[in-house]
């Protein structure tokens, strides 16, 4: 038996780059958090402290800033430029992974007119992209995270098995709330990245809203199915969806009903933090060629 080095990668995480297009008085803004990772033959660094193959993470950071100088475009396109550059930079580098978070900014309106150079960060959801280049082959995952959505009705939960520890009452009407993390893999790199991202996002939101839900799993699957039906470029979708529980407040001790029908006023819920259900799953085309490497290092089950 010998002790050996297994899989490894390294890079610079969370390079916070903001690129402003000032080519006209009407500025535009891209705000990214970029993380790079290199894969290849770095054995000597591990076993002997020999850095001859170790392109510094400082240089990787510099590359991100330098490449942004030419303009960024979409997160997917910027990730592809960077990942191809790194993967092609030295013989011993066999691949690269570039993960991008993109934060949205809206123009501030002044007197009803969107301002040329003043912005408000939109907050909420974050757009993500993960580009992996393995040898010459590129893989692109797009995604969205922290998309917090809620239905105040149109959600049921019943018909589950009962074991010794099951005490939950069935319900035909509950709040369904989750913070969607979705990642989808494109079958091609020849895309209008922003357009298809916007389309998938709309599909996710509309399907969440329109699905009468008997289980969060059902909603998850419906969202994935709709994405695949409506967007040919998508090969598979993976979800992580916490069930953000909203418990009906029990006000009976105070002589107050808190049921769903018939009273004026409001129905009152407690929004709980922990614990929470966590539903994870994937939806894919049955003829899709697997691409494990596209997902390597990306958080989440599957």
């Amino acid at each position: 038996m010998a002790i050996v080095l297994g899989p490894n990668q390294y890079g610079k995480a969370e390079v916070r780059v903001v690129a402003v297009d000032r080519s006209t008085p009407r500025h535009s803004l891209v705000d990214l958090n970029v993380s790079t990772s290199l894969r290849g033959d770095f054995a000597a660094a591990h076993t002997a402290g020999d850095n001859a193959h170790v392109l510094t993470t400082d240089a990787q950071k510099n590359t991100v800033f330098a490449f942004a100088r030419d303009g960024v475009g979409s997160p997917e396109a910027f990730g592809l430029r960077l990942a191809r550059h790194f993967a092609g930079s030295f013989d011993w580098i066999s691949g690269a992974r570039v993960a991008v978070e993109s934060y949205s900014w809206d123009r501030i309106s002044v007197g009803g007119q969107p301002h040329d150079h003043a912005f408000r960060r939109a907050g909420g959801e974050v757009r993500t992209a993960v580009v992996t280049v393995d040898g010459d082959e590129p893989h692109v995952l797009a995604g969205i995270t922290d998309l917090v959505v809620l239905k105040s009705t149109g959600s049921e939960f019943w018909g589950y098995p009962v074991d010794r520890y099951t005490t939950l009452p069935e319900t035909r009407d509950r709040i369904l709330a989750t913070a969607v993390t979705a990642r989808w893999r494109y079958a091609t790199t020849d895309l209008d990245w922003d357009a298809v991202y916007g389309g998938v996002r709309t599909t996710l939101l509309e399907t969440f809203a329109a699905t009468h839900s008997l289980a969060l799993q059902q909603t998850l699957y419906a969202m994935g199915e709709a994405v695949l039906e409506q967007h040919d470029a998508v090969a598979e979708v993976r979800f992580s969806m916490p069930n953000k529980h909203h418990f009906l407040a029990d006000l009976s001790a105070f002589g107050l009903a808190n049921d769903l029908e018939g009273q004026p006023g409001a129905v009152v819920y407690h929004a709980a933090d922990r614990p929470y259900g966590l539903i994870e799953g994937s939806v894919l085309r049955d003829d899709v060629k697997p691409a494990d490497i596209a997902w390597l290092g990306t958080p989440g089950f599957c």
Copy 2:
């Protein structure tokens, strides 16, 4: 010399209450984080462990849920109802403070139509209210926090004194970015709370955008001044505004200019985390009666 109990208060923090108006098929939603504090004679609890005066924090939580059953309305109105209730509940309770955070949700659009009962959490900024009732006298602070805004030009910084440790170069064109926390005190409780809140928020955003800034202090003051000029009900405004530094990336080592004019592509900045400038200040009417108690326990300088 004796050792004595000084000022004290206690309550239940961060009651997460969601109230849904289901009186029509078009639901509406209020999502709050409510913290209560009671003030009065609680000396015996401190010095002898005698709880005869200690209305439990559990009961305070129950009260929040029970009062929400009748409908919540604005954060300010809900805070007033609760604070008046607590302040009037027992002889030994002389005052109450109720702090509310309010999270916004937008309707999800399906096929271009806002959905009746499906929502997306807006993210970003949080609306705040702090209501203090001291005896019978109410005080209301409204506020906004985490309002992240940025100007990509229209900001300068120069003319400052130079000491031994001053090395910063002057600039006539920089990014100005901040995360506004603003709190303003109303001179009255007879207000359409949502309308005036919306108006102040618009004033803050418009003034940030429209002010050509020579200092973040100048922007802060202009924002406060505009609020007071445009909203008679506001007596004073207090701000805490971090200077979220965006540093121009130095790309000269790579043969790349990164100046503000003349190149195609983008101007590239590094968005820094720490340290950051922190500008705090207040703007008020010179004839305003001070109301220290309105601010007691609310974070921030002044």
Copy 3:
């Protein structure tokens, strides 16, 4: 009526400075987070964007690093050096506030011997200091935050008043847990800061442990009283103590008792996040001269 500038301050927040004493092969380490604020006449910056009085926050940051070059010592002493420097630097600067967080590191043991230059961050509690110099007068607050402590018995809660919304059952034996934030003001600056800090910390821990508690308020007061009794240099103490609720799990539906006596195995609790009780209070000597300015800008009630 005119609109005027009210109280204001500005500075550099969260300068993360690590100072290593390498004067012998046995290194020692100080790890600080330093925030500076200046007070004085900055009106022109606010009303006219005139920065002639604005010592840059960048220079303040540089000063922190430069002063650390001479060695840091205790957080209180370092804060005093900095605050006195800033307050004396320009005519228009009337005062300065320097807040310091200090993170502890323990030496790693190798073969039972503490290593000369390898350390593990201790985690948990953070030592704090806030130094305010107003004119020439210095004020020093020491403190501790995130000191999470728990008693698994020796805590009761009963005898409270019952209103319509009170449903909590009384208990003679509960878990008492809190995350102590304590800040105390010294009556002098002629102290061995590290020694007195260590002494107060020990007093806080021992008193929390040894007090049979009928109310968290009682524990708070006992802790403050003990600090004042045992440490002459302390003039007053202020606490913020969340009641980190641990609820006895109800296992009766599974045929399991979960009471406190008589069973083998363990007693099971759910550690809840939100909401939580929040107890805030102060303990002081009755002959102490108030010093509001010492606390100005420091979070917390009182």
Copy 4:
């Protein structure tokens, strides 16, 4: 082409259970954060909203509390009990994953004696365990996270390749700091879990301290190699180690040297937040049978 359900799992995340052994007056305490996931045939829930196979996440939570009643023991043993229970509970459940975080508490000393029932949360590092039962086969990962360590010397970085974007100067003496996340897989379940955990932790710390480092990769590999050499039960180790950069402050503009030798006072560094290097790698025995399922759903590369 059809659209199909891919891999999926679900469960209850972050059940915060505290178990107190009160069998003698000297209490002991276990403080855990437990997350469960079930795998198996849940297709109907996804495609038809049929929950007949969906053991509720509420029941999973209840099971965690009920099982804790018998005593918890080590995180690994508790995870095994739970995972075996879930995997054997219904025909359609083919496997289960139980992830545990364990928080340490130290006894508070009073008068030099460790107290019977008063504790201080240790803070800092967290012990982790991930137990996966697939059919009948158990897999156990132990781990540690947030173990923040630093060497103030004994670290070099030089000899790296230079591309267009490489500007970093070489160094023969730098601070090396990281927050270790390590996870190791045991080849057996017949272990004294606490003893072997303690042993691996000691090995990790001692090796970090004792290794003269030419690269963080070298330190990582040395740590893994030492664990495998000293602990026969360990089959493989995986690391994620951010390079927490400490940059030497440039004080030359103030006429101050800040070099490593020869001056009294301290050497001053800026502890940076983002970006940071991120080094990930694995070390294993070359005769080890792979066990991908043991790692499924656990964050991290490899």
